[in-house]
C-alpha cells in the first residue's frame, strides 16, 4: 500500500497517495489542467508544457504530468502567470505550421482548437512560420498531414507502447523535426505499420485521418484507445 500523504492544490488540502502524478491527483479532484501531449495510459513526456504548475520550493515550473506528488507539496495550477504562459504556448503552436481551422478535417473535433478557446487565445501575436510540410497519402487507408502536426508524439507512443509496431518515430531537430514512418519512408511502404488506426484516434489535431474524411466531419474515438489500454493493463 502506498503511503497516504497530504498535499495542497490552489490552497485546498488534499489527501492522496505517494507515486501519483500531480495531473492524476488533479483529475481525481476535478481540477482541470490543460494538456496536449498527455494521453491517458501512454508514457508522459512533458513536451507541450501546458500542464506546468508552480510548486513551492522549486524555482522552475514543473509539468503536472511527470511530477510525482510528495508529502506537504504546495501546488498552484492556475496563477495569472501560468494562464498567460499557456496562452503564449498555444499561440506558438498555431504559428508553427498550418492550423487554419476552416479548411481542416478536424474542425470542431480538434483538441488544439478547443485549447485555444480554453486558454482564451484571441489572435496569434507571432508571425506564422508557414513551413511547407508534406502530406503523405501513400497508405491505402490513412493520411498524415504534417502541416497539422504539433509534435505531441502521441502517435509515436501509442504505436510503440500499445500496438507494439513502432512504425512512427521522429527525425531532425528543432522546428524541422518531423514524425516519420519506419526509416523515413512513405507510410504506404511501411513494413511495420499494421494499419490498426490507433494513431488516428489519439492524434489531437487533423494531422492523422482516414481517407474519405470530410472537412469538419472527422470521427475520432480516443476513449476506445484508453479503454483498450486499461483492459490490457498496460503500465
Amino acid at each position: 500500500m502506498p503511503d497516504k500523504i497530504t498535499i495542497s492544490i490552489n490552497g485546498t488540502e488534499i489527501k492522496t497517495e505517494e507515486g501519483k502524478s500531480i495531473l492524476s491527483v488533479c483529475k481525481e479532484n476535478d481540477i482541470h489542467i490543460p494538456v496536449m501531449c498527455h494521453f491517458p495510459g501512454l508514457t508522459d513526456v512533458g513536451a507541450c508544457r501546458l500542464c506546468l504548475c508552480e510548486v513551492k520550493g522549486y524555482n522552475k515550473l514543473l509539468p503536472a504530468c511527470t511530477t510525482l506528488v510528495a508529502e506537504n507539496m504546495e501546488i498552484q495550477t492556475h496563477t495569472e502567470k501560468l494562464k498567460e504562459y499557456r496562452r503564449v504556448i498555444v499561440e506558438m503552436f498555431f504559428s508553427e505550421r498550418n492550423h487554419m481551422c476552416s479548411i481542416c478535417v478536424a474542425n470542431t473535433n480538434c483538441e488544439l482548437q478547443d485549447m485555444a478557446t480554453e486558454v482564451g487565445m484571441q489572435h496569434v501575436r507571432f508571425p506564422f512560420l508557414n513551413q511547407e510540410c508534406a502530406v503523405d497519402a501513400s497508405h491505402p487507408k490513412y493520411v498524415i498531414d504534417h502541416n497539422r502536426c504539433i509534435m505531441c508524439t502521441r502517435c509515436v507512443r501509442v504505436c510503440s507502447e500499445v500496438e507494439g509496431a513502432h512504425n512512427w518515430d521522429v527525425k531532425n531537430r528543432g522546428y524541422n523535426a518531423r514524425v516519420i514512418s519506419d526509416f523515413d519512408q512513405p507510410w504506404g511502404e511501411s513494413e511495420t505499420c499494421t494499419s490498426c488506426g490507433k494513431c488516428l484516434n489519439v492524434c489531437p489535431t487533423g494531422a492523422l485521418w482516414a481517407k474519405g474524411s470530410v472537412q469538419g466531419k472527422l470521427d475520432k474515438f480516443p476513449e476506445k484507445i484508453t479503454d483498450l489500454i486499461e483492459k490490457r493493463g498496460i503500465h
Binding site: R49, T67, Y85, V88, M151, R173, Y175, A177
Partner: protein, 550 residues
Amino acid sequence: MNTNELKELSEKIVEEGKAFKKKVCVCCGAGCLSSGSEAVLESMKQTIKDKGLESTVQVIPSGCMGPCNQGPLVKILPEETIYEKLDGDAVEALVDDHIVKDTPQEDKLLFSEYRDKPFVDSREDPFFKRQKRIVLENCGRINPESIEDYIGVNGYQALAYALHRSSPEHIIGEIKLSRLRGRGGAGYPTGFKWETVYRHVADQKYVVCNADEGDPGAFMDRSILEGDPHRVLEGMILAGYAIGATQGYAYIRGEYPAAIKRFEEALKQARKKGFLGRSIMGSDFSFDVEIRIGAGAFVCGEETALLASIEGKRGTPRPRPPYPAESGLWGKPTLINNVETFANIAPIVISGGTAFGEVGTPKSAGTKVFALAGKVQISGLIEVPMGTNLRDIIFEIGGGIPGGHKFKAAQTGGPSGGCIPEQHLDHPVDYESLQELGSIMGSGGLIVMDETSDMVDVARYFMEFCVDESCGKCIPCRVGTKQMFDLLTKIYEGRATDIDLATLEQLAHVVKDTSLCGLGMSAPNPLLSTLRFFKEDYIQHLKDSALANV
C-alpha cells in the same frame, strides 16, 4: 599492482627521466596540430637523432600548453622555455642554439612580438604568472599517450590511496570538504551529488563522464582529454569506487577525434596495468569504462539527453525530477559529471579537501579553466583561481584588445550565457557573481568582443545556434527560439518597431520559464543580457528602421 609497486614504478620513471638533461615537449593539442606541429615533432625527433643527442634529450608529443594562437609551440624543460610559431625547418637552428650551445633563440621565444623582452622562463610571463594550474598541471608536460609519464607525475596514487587506505565514505567526505562544484556550468556541489548516488541502493550504478562540450568557442574539456586523459580516467575510477559503480561511460563528442583516440589508448593502458577492470590494484573493487561517441547534437550535453543517447535512443531530454542520481542510465542511479570536474578529483584525494578549498572564493572553490577567444591579443587555454576578475583575465593574461580598439563585452557561458560590459569587469568570477550579471559560468568559454561588435548581431548569432540545436521536443524551445531569431533578424535588418522589441522580450521570458531542459531555459540569456547592458544597440537599430520607413 599494489601501492608499493606503484610507488616503486613511479620512482623508477622519475629516475629514468633524470638521465635526460633536457625534455623537449612538442605541443600536439588540437590548436597546434592544426598549425602543423606534427611536422615539428618529426623534425625534432630526427634532428635530435642526427645530432646524436638521443641519450641526453627526450622528445615527446604533449598536450595543450595554453597560448594556442601562437602555435606550433615547443617547451624545453627543465628551464621552461617556450618557443612559438615553429615549423620543421626552424627546428635544427633551435636545437643548435638552445640545446647544443645553451643560448636561447630570442626571436623565437613565446610572445616575442608582444613583449619588449620575452621571457626565457615562460613562468615569468604575465600570461602564466597569473594562472594557477591544478587541472592542467600535467598538460603540456607529459606525453598523453604514455601511462608511464602519468605515473611519473604521481598518477594513480590517489586511486591507490583510496583503495588501500581509505573508504568510499572518506573519499566522498573529502570531495564535500573541498567544496568542488560541477564544472559543466551549473555548479552543483560535486560532493553532494556523489553522496546522493552513494546513498541510493541498487544492484547496478553507473558513472558517466560528460565530454560532449559544445559551446561555440569552448575547448577546455577537449584540451584536458587530449593533454591528460589518465587524469580524467582516474577521477572516473575514484568516482566509481566512491559511489559503488562497476561501469562507467565517457560520452565524447565525435568532433574530437584526437580526444577519443587518446582516451581509448588511456583505457587500454590502464587495463593492462590493472587500474581498470577486475580487482583493481589487487582490491575487491572492479570497474570498467567504455567510450560512447556523440553524433553532433549539442543537446546531448544536457544530462538526460546524454543518457538517452548512451541508451541508444534519440538524444532528447526528459523532465527532471527524477534526477539521474536516482534514476539515470537504464533507470539505475547514475553519477554524471563533466570532464573538468573529474580532472579535479585526484588532486583533492591527494592533497585533501581542505587544502583544495583554500584556493578560490568561499562559495566557489578551486580553479576554473577558460577557453579565451575573440578580440583578445593572446587567445588560448587558461586556468585561474575562482574569484579572479575578468579585467585581469582579459587585460593581463590575454594582453588586452588588439588593434587599438576599445573593449565592449565579455561573453561567458556560450549560447546559455550572457555578455558582461566594461563596468562589471572588476567582479570576481564565480558561479554566483556571473549569475547576478545575467550570465553563467558555463563550461568555460570566454569570448572577448570589442567596440566593433554589434550586440544585436551577437544575440542573433547565439539564437541561431539555439534554433539549430533545439531538439524539437518541447514547444517553447522549438518554436520560441525560431520566433526570437526571426524578430532579432527583423531588428538587425532595420525592419522592426517598438512592438517587436516588446514581443521579443515577452517571448524571452516565456521560453526561459517554460522550456523543458537547460538548452531552452537558457537560450534567451544572450538576448536578455544584451538587452540589459547594451540596449542602445537595439535602440539604434530601431531608429534606423524608423528612418528607413519615413
